[in-house]
């Protein structure tokens, strides 16, 4: 192609680029490493992250692993080896401790790194810019408060009970159990802590259907770390002749799965932990950092305003926590519950 022809073509291309609003506003690519969105909570997280990235003018690339830390590590190596210039990374490790090497590699690229969902491990602070996500200690504490409140109101004698927790190795499960146990210390007696092999109803039922009859007459409450497991526990309790809410109090503490057990009072109450808003706030934190250029020390709990999400102009802290607003166990309470402009039904029934 000769010079005379190439000049007008280049001019047309340049004009086209400038005329395109999408490209003109593009602030770059954010790469998020997350476990597979076949898990509906993670699917919601990705939707929220996409929505916020689009709003801020970023392009979000979500790289999913099949619940496999080795695969995620390999994805990080490939991303870094590609040499792609990015506006930042969002890091949701599948196994928090095992993923520290990849986290360090991301940080060494010079791009900001926002950790989400998995509370960072002590000593890794230099490898990440900020944490933006759920606080699982708070989740456990909120569940304990819901349960203690239900004990006081229902007249059920609450003493011995059990914790059905997430699989061993899932740090969110450790943190929720710790938060719960700290909050009930001296008030309730934890008979046993039994891990499930998963997060859904089938696994919750498998465990609850075995420990309830084995401890019949002893269990007065159950904490299950999310509502999917709690709903299954309620079903197992009914099958063993116990009326949830009367003979035994069950709390999941995180709205997840079928809300009918909360709405009909079988579960003592719940709290909104929204996957959508967690993804949204992770990207917002990255956007804030890229705009403001700094991170404030300490932690902040974003306000649980029912009508509007937090402003982009707010400062970003080292730890930015998603609020966990509690929701009562009735249809009316559930219908009235909102967080950041979305209803509990939208945020929990995904």
């Amino acid at each position: 192609m000769n010079y005379k022809m190439s000049l007008p073509i280049a001019a047309v291309l340049l004009a086209g680029l400038c005329a395109s609003p999408a490209l003109a506003e593009d602030k770059g690519v954010i790469v998020a490493f997350v476990p597979s969105s076949t898990n509906p909570y993670i699917g919601q997280w990705a939707k929220g992250a996409q929505a916020k990235a689009g709003e801020l003018g970023y392009t979000l690339k979500v790289i999913e692993n099949n619940f496999n830390q080795a695969e995620q590590d390999s994805q990080v190596q490939q991303q870094l080896a590609s040499g792609e210039k990015v506006a930042g990374y969002v890091w949701w490790p599948f196994e928090n401790a095992a993923g520290v090497g990849s986290l360090r590699a991301l940080s060494q690229s010079g791009a900001p790194v926002i950790v989400s969902n998995q509370y960072p491990i002590k000593g890794t602070e230099a490898y990440w810019t900020a944490y933006a996500g759920a606080n699982d200690f708070l989740s456990g504490k909120t569940a304990a408060e819901i349960l203690l409140d239900a004990c006081a109101k229902s007249g059920v004698k609450c003493d011995k009970g059990a914790i059905i927790r997430f699989p061993a190795g899932v740090s969110a499960g450790d943190d929720r159990a710790t938060g719960f146990q700290d909050a009930v210390k001296g008030k309730l007696d934890v008979l046993t802590v039994v891990p499930t092999a998963g997060f859904l109803e089938d696994e919750g039922y498998k465990v609850a259907a075995q420990i309830i009859p084995a401890n019949k007459g002893q269990l007065t409450w159950l904490y299950t770390e999310n509502d999917s497991l709690a709903g299954a526990a309620a079903q197992a309790a009914r099958e063993n002749g116990l009326v949830p809410g009367k003979d035994i109090l069950i709390v999941g503490g995180t709205c997840h799965g079928d809300s009918k057990h909360v709405k009909n009072g079988e579960i003592a109450g719940t709290a909104i932990q929204s996957g959508y808003w967690e993804g949204w706030m992770a990207v917002q934190a990255l956007g804030k950092f890229n705009t403001q250029g700094k991170v404030q020390d300490g932690e902040t709990y974003l306000a649980d305003n029912p009508d509007a999400p937090p402003a982009d102009s707010d400062p970003v802290f080292k730890y930015n926590f998603l609020p966990n607003p509690a929701v009562g166990n009735s249809q009316a309470a559930y219908d009235a519950a909102k967080m950041w402009g979305k209803s509990a039904d939208e945020l929990c029934n995904f």
Binding site: S36, S37, T38, N39, P40, I42, G43, F67, P167, A168, T192, V194, P195, T196, A197, G198, L200, E201, D202, Y205, K206, V207, A209, Q210, I211, P213, A214, N215, K216, G231, A232, Q235, E239, N240, G257, D258, K260, N349, F350
Partner: protein
């Protein structure tokens, strides 16, 4: 010599204890020991719990036994197919009603079984083929569900999933019925004999004019139907389906087959053994759960049981030769 075994007549005469008797003995021994150690173990209520726990795994393990007996080792796609069929069932019930949902799920299951069986006939390696199908099924489950929870609101489904005729969960009735029907099919029906002979020695079966490819397809259709039953029960019980259902369950199904004493090289065993294997594992899991074993320890013990069982049955087989 019986068509169910390839041991010599003299060995057959020497054989005094069939494999399923060993499994029953292990079940009885474990029940007695666990009952003495853990008072809450040996109760009628807990027995029902164990049978219920064994049922869901056992229904698929019975289907898996067809695959193993037909000489195709085992399938690594059962859990993912379960998630896919669960999503199909939930979507179909939501749009077309329970009966149509059930029919659609069974139809998809049969097609999925045929696709796997025919592919294995071409590729020749059941492990690689079913591993690939596993990814396909999990991906389809995610696509069809849109990575969301698919809910159903069906009284019939709820009754099916949570009903307890005569105090026994519906899943357990299905488990018992399926085990007996499958046992009769493998032992008494011509199709069962085709599976056994194809698994015992495929080359001889082909030379004898038997359709080994058909045996493979039938085995995978049987597995898929078992998976469909499990998926329908699970969705009915919890009124919802998700793409990540049953993740990690494949080992449980295979473990039940191996602990039940079904020979991995094919041509031996019966679906009843897979059912007994599922009960033995459920007993052990229940005992460990009631005694506060950690999840890691529970996995280690079950893995150890599989190693022990396969090793013991292998030694037993060598002694008989």
């Amino acid at each position: 010599m019986s068509i169910m075994t390839d041991v010599s007549p003299s060995a057959a005469r020497r054989r005094s204890v069939p494999r399923f008797v060993w499994v029953i003995a292990a079940i009885v021994a474990l029940y007695l020991v666990a009952g003495v150690i853990t008072p809450s173990f040996a109760t009628f209520d807990n027995m029902l719990v164990i049978v219920r726990a064994a049922s869901i795994t056992g229904i698929v393990a019975i289907g898996m036994s067809y695959v193993t007996i037909s000489g195709n080792l085992f399938a690594l796609s059962a859990a993912a197919l379960g998630a896919f069929l669960a999503v199909i069932f939930a979507l179909a019930v939501g749009h077309l009603g329970f009966a149509a949902g059930l029919a659609a799920t069974l139809l998809v299951a049969i097609l999925a079984g045929m696709a796997q069986g025919l592919s294995i006939s071409v590729v020749g390696n059941p492990i690689i083929t079913t591993l690939a199908f596993s990814t396909v099924f999990r991906g389809l489950a995610a696509l069809f569900s849109g990575n969301s929870i698919v809910r159903i609101d069906s009284d019939i489904a709820l009754a099916l999933g949570t009903g307890r005729p005569l105090g026994v969960p519906t899943q357990s009735w299905a488990f018992i019925a399926l085990a007996l029907v499958s046992w009769a099919l493998i032992r008494r029906a011509r199709l069962g004999r085709l599976l056994v002979l194809s698994g015992a020695n495929p080359q001889t079966a082909i030379a004898s004019g038997l359709n080994v490819r058909l045996a493979t397809v039938v085995a995978f259709v049987a597995l898929s139907v078992g998976v469909a039953i499990m998926a329908v029960f699970t969705v009915s019980q919890f009124s919802q389906a998700k793409a990540d259902l049953f993740a990690g369950y494949d080992f449980d199904y295979i473990a039940a087959v191996l602990v039940g004493g079904i020979a991995l090289r094919g041509g031996q065993g019966s679906p009843l053994q897979a059912a007994l294997g599922a009960i033995l594992i459920a007993l052990l899991q229940n005992f460990m759960l009631l005694n506060g074993f950690t999840a890691g320890l529970r996995m280690t013990v079950v893995g150890g049981l599989v190693l022990l069982a396969t090793g013991a049955f292998h030694l037993l087989q060598r002694r008989l030769r």
